[in-house]
Symmetry: C2
Subunit: 700 residues, 2 copies
Amino acid sequence: MDIKKLLKPKKVAVIGASEKEGFGGDTCRNIIRYMKPGDYYFINPKRDQVQGVRCYPSISDLPEPVELLVIATPMSTVEGFLREGAEKGVRGAVVFASGYGEVGTEEGTEAENQLKSLCQELDIALMGPNCAGYANYVDMIYPYAFISNERDRKGAVGVVSQSGQLVLSMMEAASIRFSYAISSGNGKITTIEDYLDFLVDDEDTQVIALYMEGSKQPSKLASVLKKAALKHKPIVVLKTGRSEKGQALAASHTGSLSGSDKVFDALFDKFGVLRVDDLEELISTAQALAVLKKLPESSGFSSISLSGGETGICADLGQIIGLTYPDFSEKTVKALEAILPGYATVNNPLDSTASLSYDIDKFASVCEAVMKDPSVGIVSIGYTLLEEISDNAIYYISEALGRVMKEEWAKPCLMLPFAENTRNSDYVKKLESIGVPVLPTSLYALKIIKHILDFSCYKPEDHNLEVAVLTNPALRESDCNTRSALTESESKKMIQRYGIDCGIFEVARSREEAGELFSRLNLRKAVAKVDSPDILHKSDVGCVILGLKSPEEAMEAYDTILENAAKHFEHPDIRGVQICNMADKGTEVILGVNNDPQFGPCVLVGLGGVFVEIFKDTSMALAPVSKAEADNMIRSLKSFRILDGYRGTPKGDIDALSDAIVLISEMAAERADDLAELDINPVFVYEKGICAVDALYIKQ
Amino acid sequence: MDIKKLLKPKKVAVIGASEKEGFGGDTCRNIIRYMKPGDYYFINPKRDQVQGVRCYPSISDLPEPVELLVIATPMSTVEGFLREGAEKGVRGAVVFASGYGEVGTEEGTEAENQLKSLCQELDIALMGPNCAGYANYVDMIYPYAFISNERDRKGAVGVVSQSGQLVLSMMEAASIRFSYAISSGNGKITTIEDYLDFLVDDEDTQVIALYMEGSKQPSKLASVLKKAALKHKPIVVLKTGRSEKGQALAASHTGSLSGSDKVFDALFDKFGVLRVDDLEELISTAQALAVLKKLPESSGFSSISLSGGETGICADLGQIIGLTYPDFSEKTVKALEAILPGYATVNNPLDSTASLSYDIDKFASVCEAVMKDPSVGIVSIGYTLLEEISDNAIYYISEALGRVMKEEWAKPCLMLPFAENTRNSDYVKKLESIGVPVLPTSLYALKIIKHILDFSCYKPEDHNLEVAVLTNPALRESDCNTRSALTESESKKMIQRYGIDCGIFEVARSREEAGELFSRLNLRKAVAKVDSPDILHKSDVGCVILGLKSPEEAMEAYDTILENAAKHFEHPDIRGVQICNMADKGTEVILGVNNDPQFGPCVLVGLGGVFVEIFKDTSMALAPVSKAEADNMIRSLKSFRILDGYRGTPKGDIDALSDAIVLISEMAAERADDLAELDINPVFVYEKGICAVDALYIKQ
């Protein structure tokens, strides 16, 4: 199937052309309005003409082959038209009809599966069913079923959305301009991953905006995101399902299999994808990235506003959102003091005072001074651009910016308004033409600036992009129920093989062997623990005995443990009693792996006890991870300070811990077809080295 | 001084009337446009006429007394005009001139102090200096210096702002409508507290929107907020200075003494004031509260949207922002299933499907079913209202809402758009007239709904509103430097007097007394600690000895402690050695008091160690607090679960702890003129009762 036949067809035919409001009629209205006559045909056996355009009775009657068939008739008619079309050269189809997988019935799912087979048989790339079609602004192809107001929409953002309504809202928004706007519908035949793949390759698309509820092709999604990361093409994504309510909804809605939402965060982090919280943030982040002519080269932010109040808002909100305002260099301060009036205070964020907004030269000089500061990577100009212009400050400011943005030293610059009253479209165009995006009000604006900085700071080489879902073809395909636990000693042997220090331990099969091991392993202080796949919470049932000081004590412990096990379990599968060297206490860390049914293993780290359990203070990343990723996981813990030498306790060996994370993540990726879950708890982190004291490996 | 002469004057005169752009000319333009001829006079000795209006050469030449003088001339002229005006009946003045306290020079501050004295002498309420004036939409009085577009601005929000630019932006915003819009300027003569006081009493003002950088009259601010709380009149506040950068700016800007920002949070919490993060949130929260005809009676939220994507956004963002979507009752589910198409899933948040938006009856029935659900207190309708109407769904929806909102069972309802494209003003008016506010896009919208719920859940009777700044006239007035510490035993005796259990302890003045105390106090296990105001970190210098089991050990400890003290300090002031009963270990809690130079003592609670130090997990409230406030402080800790019986450790005595918070807060309020800081660390919390093991009381 060739997606280009669907998205860039030579000729288009509409089945179900009509005068009425609704899918057929509105699609014809759009096509007539936006496409060149001769590029499309309307088909309706009952009419000679629709909306002034000649109508053909059937596909077969068309005077020439067509590549794209737009089917605006009910589901029962779809198969026939596709078969007839295939004969006439059709290789792409848009199907609006609903009644398929999205209704949640067996019949619906079956119908969609049949449609998929049919498309494979006929080699047709099909958009939908249950979609709103698409608009291709590059070649002006418009098989799209919703009407919206006339405005200039041709631009560089490629949109893919699992929701047709959200595509419509994006078209109705004032600011975003598109290369393609695609409503994927159920997306089981041509998938959102297929569209993404197309847009990542597409030269006319500079930024991709994606609305998704879940993925049907996790491996393809990962490979497309990887391609985009390596090309440094920005993808902005609104994915619902972050909350429990949202997760339930997403699962019920387009019938997507929605994996754990946190895994998507790990996926997006790995590939530098920007995740946003709502549609306005999606629209405006994508459009800002498309308008900017270059990306920031350092992460320092400077905001220039015309009043103290606005400057205060930027200072506070910026900090809440996580932006950094570096102090200006001495040179910058001097330059600014020379331009600004005496009562101004030179600071970053900068209150340039209102006086400046009526003086092109001075305003340009202030921008120049700020942009030339080496610590500044990106600049915002605080100004509330109104629909109706009543104050000519905007004239002076935009003139000044026009001059500034031509210079080689110019840095990325955005307009930041404080009150919503849309934005005068002439000025928006003027500013966008010089590479200055106009943002929505401050709460969004500062989040968007943070996204831009995050994207420009992302370096694919810092990440291990060979995620298991790409490299391990045997990755399990669903959440299977045949999980079985290894014993602690087996689990530790497994991770030992991959390079994790687990201290000295061996399993005694008899009372005597327990004593012998104590001597043979040359222990001074030992711990005895039951070794059984059935007994997971060993301490709670008296199956761990600490502080053994002699072979005799080890032998006694052997008996006690077996007795205690017998008290609590009927016929437990006991492989023996582990005799381990009793490790010195270090800072307790938890290392774990979860194997996501869609995206494969994720590795997780956190400080033991309340930090994980109450503060939920953990970092997660898709396996395998690079050393830099592992290090960043540790440093992004809120409790990192405890590891880093808190209150006189020695500094933990971060290097050894991050090595362990890398090794575990590599093991998890390699064993993605075998490992369901791994819990190493605790790992003791010492001043030098680490030791995994307990481990539980659960097989699929 | 009578603020009504300033804000509701009978006649107004403008000094410095002019044709030109700028303060004088633009104020005249506004006055001519908005006020009744005959209500104002223009004064300019050089002209007979300004903008077609007759000009008088001086105040004395006016044909009748005027109450308000608007001075648009430079600062050097202000005193003369005020004196002349006072003779002509002037009791209010608006002064635009800058050059006073805001420039940060001694001369400026002195000039402002003189102006203040002059106003007191002449009994003139003065707005400014360095302000933009005000607009009174109730009586249409318009001594305001900035021009903005024509739109209907008369409404019920009273605005006070320390920034003139932000008043202008609010006037330029599309949605908010005002009773008063006041740019206070430096606000040292008539203060923001005075304006607030006026607006709280004003019957034409339903909601107050405040922009502030700091307070110059903390006691008046508290008393005004208390009045508003008791009247249940909403105050929405944007206060800058949350971040370090913002704090520094606010301090430098209007020259406000800006206290610790966290104290403002405590102040706002106590009085039910809603704090927002930017101007758009201020505008739209205030306007929404003004438009709603009633407040929610329960905190359950329901969102109705037309598509799955929009519903997903509401689900996720709602949870992030802290809203609760209660599950619908069985009755509601049945009612909705009967109305919605078969493929719809009935859930809260609700995807009502787009089909419904073209059917007035069905849409109204869906609203009815949702609003009648007993767990639902407030409802949002997701719909992107555009400037230019291209889809007539809005007609059907607004018709349906018009019908619904008339019913007795109607609940507060708001429109929530997903993409910014302003909002058609006719529909906004129509919706507002039936009590349905139209919100900005979702990120703001859901925050605003949370504010509305917070406000409607606030009950003044849950709070102790008699804060120290109101009741203790001797509250210290500035951060004085004459702090002196009490010894531990003195500190404990002090809090013991207020009812806090500190265990058994007494101070030995000699080696022998140490032994005697051990016996007399009937101790089994004791601790010896140095008692000195000079030695604060006693353990670090060997001045605490634990686990003493006999009078002899106590005597020995006495000597050791004195020796250790002598090693580390030259001539420390040592009052003796405390002999204390060694308390059993409980959960460690920190209780503290900070006496804010502006708002008096705040009481603070947190779990000891890393929880306070690394996770900054503390709750703070303005003293004194009620039992309900104390209980809420404890329960709002993230680490509350540890106190509440975590992992088999016994449940701590929350009741005893909250009693202690109340007692300490009452002590702090009573001693606000003496107490600088109190640190009770740790307090052990047991299954039954608590014990304060160490305390440090610092006097001012």
